[in-house]
Symmetry: C2
């Protein structure tokens, strides 16, 4: 028996003065309804199949664990609405012979699009192996968000798509562009709730605006607009004075004009703003202990979150954590134990978010890197402290804002009466090397190039190789002033290398030889294996271990760089080292195989004119990616352990290895 | 006699269900009114003084031309509203002892802030030479937006400012950040109309949203929202079907479902989309003729605009010009002769914009780089052509969008059934070297670094040195497919160097020796003067002329690079040259003094491992800037003609010059 129908709202907004559109009650007869519901269920079944199944596509056998994908990707929640909209529009396309395009805004909602395309037959026409039969369906299911397959957005491989939606924000403007000069084209566009919070999307609604709409817009934004308009000055002054009186300050201030006690006690005591350095407590106590270098596999990021949590707890009026809805995903969820997520709106039962919402919370989230960055800039420039955590690829969204903040603080250094402000700390994770599920759109480590263009006086970049280094670097950044600090760190479980004391020493130096991974003690090395970044360090250590096992006579020196600007000449950046220091670490005549987190040419640029510079061979991300496993991605970009010892392809011959690592040296 | 008072609107929006606030009619008595009006006039006088006067601050002498600034900068239009708001809030600050901060959003509106600060005495306290007397006022006026002085935004030098506003978009989020955990602080914030169109600003209004507000928001955006809500599937299907019927297609389509003729004729004929290449006409006829190299001073950009105008005229259904409200400022106004600016809203008398507005226009403007870029992406991905013109510094606003488009077209190259689409063409002007009035925030050529990180298959960067090269490069870009093309060119009058045929030959090669500027014919040069970018070419030619005049025996070779990726090895980019070609142009053992438009290290990165690479000395923008004249800016960054011959500081001694240009060569 069907449940009683719930109330269905279908109405325009007559209360705002827009003509009410009368909706014809039931355009579908019973047979239409039966068919369209079945069509919907078919589409939803295909979506589920893509998300879950690698075998047994029609569930002809009893479902077993082996039929399921090991890793579940794609968003179920953004599928139903899209499929529903698409198929209902299909009815109109047929009825009126329309020319229509679908633009899919919600993230990771490709199953909806793919299922509709498959049901329409287009998918099988374009990809004959994804045929409309059981075998084809199996392949169709398996390829979804699977290594070597297709992404979870409407990627270029998706028939009919002109909009991937991997980075949120562009669906409405793309839709507008597609219909300009296409008067017979309808671009049916879905906007997800996350996308609706982004700056590019928010502004793309604005095509024209009347006074009436302007009023409604501000009410929509949650504000009460007052209009003071005219050109007669006396009445304008009266009007402005009267309007400002409207704030009803008598409810907030007492007769003497003081803030009422209830509000007053929310304020920090005294002139406590800058003096209350948030890093009062010792980060050493959060150390990952008993590390076995290269063996211990522990979560660097969630460990550091314990440190952040206690900073929040001790600084409840002058420290906040900012981020575009990724704090939990970025493994920083522990901070909620001290300060919840700020929520100022209505509460519904389903909105409690695990009990993590509170008006007086400390974690500021909105799916707009712009707004998070802007909040944090305003917060620190007015005397407080904070950290922004964000996915690495999408920090490019605020390249320009960060540029401008760098320029601001550089000029402040020249203004003697300006007080110092806390550094702007940006923690980047969900890095390029761990985007096996999100794919190519989520692979972009180029923010470091943007930052490196700014003045050496104001920018700092740190790539801690493991958990204790991440702690040390974070503590340093939070206690610094007048910088933009960028920290790049993997959020997954990761190999650990250094104990706490070693990590502090290493991070304080900014770079150094790891003797425990080297075998050149007291001698000139045959080759220097240099690294910067946690995942590249992991791969290079593996390559070093292989080299040392296979060619014990080869003298390998292992170098790790935490503080990127150590590589620059000391005359060009305050953190830079001298050529003499450089030579002591990297030599001036040995091949340096440098494995880097970001685009490789950044290292070439930073090491320009260093002694032996022509012997530096850098591997890094070269814009080669897809739905790849981490190792596949490393191989595509030649940062993997095997490429590093590619000479072995010719047989395990020590002379071959010498030849490979030695081609540029004087004694070759 | 005072004019009759006009109507003054002071009201809340009762029609939207928000409680109406009753405004007390006239809070100011006659004496208050007199004083506050005088205070306002004083503030406005100071604003005018900053904009216009360098002498005679109190107009004690009759005003002469000599008293006026030669170049008028700052925006009068954004001053009055800000001063008005500031001073009226002052009344409340005094009355209720409030703690308030002013955040100035409108661009170039610093005079309002500065005048208020000066009237409050703070400015003179901080800068005693800007004292509250005639001499102080004169200095106060003169420094405004003047070389060596202060900028036209609320720069760090401005007392009380935490928000410069040089790049629009961040005032609301900065204001929010400043009041978090400052319960007694009021951040009084002004948002300009331009800023209100940006993505970052649009999204920063969103702090919370209720269902009622959501309805109002969409009406405010200019849309009519329909809500289809529920969980009972049959009624949901009925509702969705009924809602879609609301589009009343019967008014747009005839009974057979065909578009009505009135609309149909707006469409391009047949499958004309990609086949109608917009560059059907010969760009040669727009040539700047009778060029005297290095002498003719002509406007490259507005000349090219004639070419663009005729492309628009011949492609009225498949070509558009996009830009963030800068088409006229960027000297492309000629395109309005063919296609006006698109305007879909209400028309007022004052909105005609010189008669350049039309619903069926071809120029798409909105002060949101995001929306312009999104429009253009949607437009070209659906089979049409276009060009985006933008200020160079703020193209960083859409770094991430361009990144994502590069990734999209790269993947499309791997999808065999995808047709080719027109290239995404970005024309950057208002460049770093011509920002004497806008200052430091408007100096950022780093977009090239972001683009250069993308795959060589999809990105192209051109820096035409003069007007005919700009024509040649633009024609090439507009007829290309599947690329992101970036063109960087000055919009001011500029020295011209090449005739049309020479320009075509030079741009086709992408780089080459300019024999007319060299004196090494048939011999090895002593030094190679290399350039990339129009302003740097100008400066290096001047340095070359000085060198040749002062040291005739010195053999100078002059090289210009138009196509930046020519510098890369041919194995790394399809435009790259071989080492042999490289050596024929740059030599492998002579000093190369390379003057570059952007950050210098990009050249080092591109020329990594080229023969003689260690002899390349690159000058470019090094993030050193302020309110500088072009020559001052060049000197600060050592790209000027004089730095290039700095040996002359020791006297005009040919041996000194040889020593300077020759320090690294083998025969030094």
């Amino acid at each position: 028996m069907a449940p009683p129908p719930e109330e269905v709202a279908v109405e325009s907004i007559s209360s705002y003065g827009v003509a009410r559109s009368t909706v014809a009650g039931e355009p579908l007869n019973a047979e239409d309804l039966r068919k369209i519901d079945a069509y919907f269920r078919a589409s939803m079944y295909l979506c589920l199949g893509m998300l879950y199944l690698r075998e047994n596509p029609l569930l002809k056998q009893p479902l077993t664990k082996e039929h399921l994908k090991a890793r579940l990707l794609g968003h179920w929640g953004s599928d139903a609405g899209q499929a529903f909209t698409w198929m209902h529009f299909n009815r109109l396309i047929k009825k009126y012979e329309l020319d229509a395009l679908f633009i899919s805004g919600p993230g990771h909602g490709a199953p909806a699009i793919l299922s509709q395309s498959y049901m329409e037959g287009v998918y099988s026409e374009v990809y004959p192996d994804k045929s409309e039969d059981e075998d084809g369906m199996k392949r169709f299911f398996k390829q979804f968000s699977f290594p070597g397959g297709i992404g979870s957005h409407a990627t270029p491989e998706t028939p009919g798509s002109i909009h991937e939606g991997g980075e949120l924000g562009y669906s409405i403007s793309h839709a507008f562009g597609s219909v300009f000069d296409h008067p017979n084209l309808i671009s049916l566009t879905m906007v997800g709730d996350g996308e609706a919070e982004t700056g590019p999307l928010a502004t793309s609604w604005h095509t024209r605006i009347s006074h009436t709409e302007l009023e409604a817009l501000f009410i929509g934004y949650g504000w009460t607009p007052y209009f003071v308009e005219g050109s007669d000055m006396p009445s304008m002054h009266q009007a402005m004075a009267a309007t400002l009186e409207n704030y009803r300050p008598e409810e907030l201030f007492d007769k003497q004009g003081k803030l009422i006690p209830e509000l007053k006690e929310l304020a920090p005591v005294g002139n406590a703003r800058m003096s209350a350095n948030p890093v009062g407590n010792d980060f050493r106590k959060y150390a990952l202990a008993d590390i076995v270098p290269g063996v211990s596999n522990l979560p660097s990021m969630s460990n550091m979150a314990g440190f952040l949590r206690d900073i929040v707890a001790k600084n409840m009026t002058n420290f906040r954590v900012f981020g575009p809805d990724e704090t939990e995903s970025n493994k920083l969820g522990k901070v909620y134990e001290a300060g919840k997520k700020v929520w100022m709106g209505e509460y519904f039962e389903e909105d409690t978010d695990g009990g993590n919402l509170a008006m007086e919370g400390r974690v500021m989230e909105m799916l707009s890197e712009h707004t998070c960055e802007g909040w944090m800039e305003g917060y620190i420039l007015s005397g407080r402290h904070g950290i922004l955590n964000s996915y690495e690829p999408f920090i490019h969204v605020i390249d320009s804002m960060v540029n401008q903040h760098c320029k601001w603080i550089e000029k402040c250094l020249e203004v003697p009466w300006r007080v110092q402000t806390a550094s702007l700390n940006i923690l980047l994770t969900a890095t390029v090397w761990r985007q096996d599920h999100n794919g190519f759109t989520h692979q972009d480590p180029g923010f470091l190039d943007v930052v490196a263009n700014k003045s050496p006086e104001v920018v700092r970049i740190y790539l801690p190789p493991d958990g204790n280094c991440l702690l040390s670097v974070t503590a340093h950044c939070l206690s610094s002033v007048n910088y933009v600090n960028v920290i790049v760190a993997d959020k997954q479980d990761h190999l650990q290398f250094l104990g706490m004391d070693e990590a502090i020493e290493h991070c304080t130096k900014g770079l150094g030889i790891w003797n425990w991974a080297s075998n050149d003690q007291g001698e000139d090395p045959d080759v220097v294996m240099a690294t910067c970044g946690d995942v590249p360090t992991h791969e290079s250590l593996a390559a070093t271990a292989l080299l040392r096992e296979l060619v014990p006579s080869l003298k390998v020196r292992f170098v790790n760089v935490v503080d990127l600007f150590k590589l620059i000449d000391h005359e060009d950046h305050p953190h830079g080292i001298t050529d003499r220091e450089w030579t002591a670490i990297f030599t001036d005549n040995r091949p340096v195989i440098f494995n880097f987190h970001s685009y490789p040419w950044l290292i070439h640029r930073l090491t320009y004119k260093r002694p032996g510079q022509k012997n530096i061979h850098v591997r890094g991300y070269k814009e080669k990616g897809n739905i790849d496993t981490p190792l596949e991605l490393a191989i595509r970009n030649q940062t993997d352990r095997f490429t590093k010892i590619e000479a072995f392809e010719n047989g395990i011959d020590p002379e071959n290895i010498r030849k490979w690592v030695w081609p540029y040296s004087k004694t070759a």
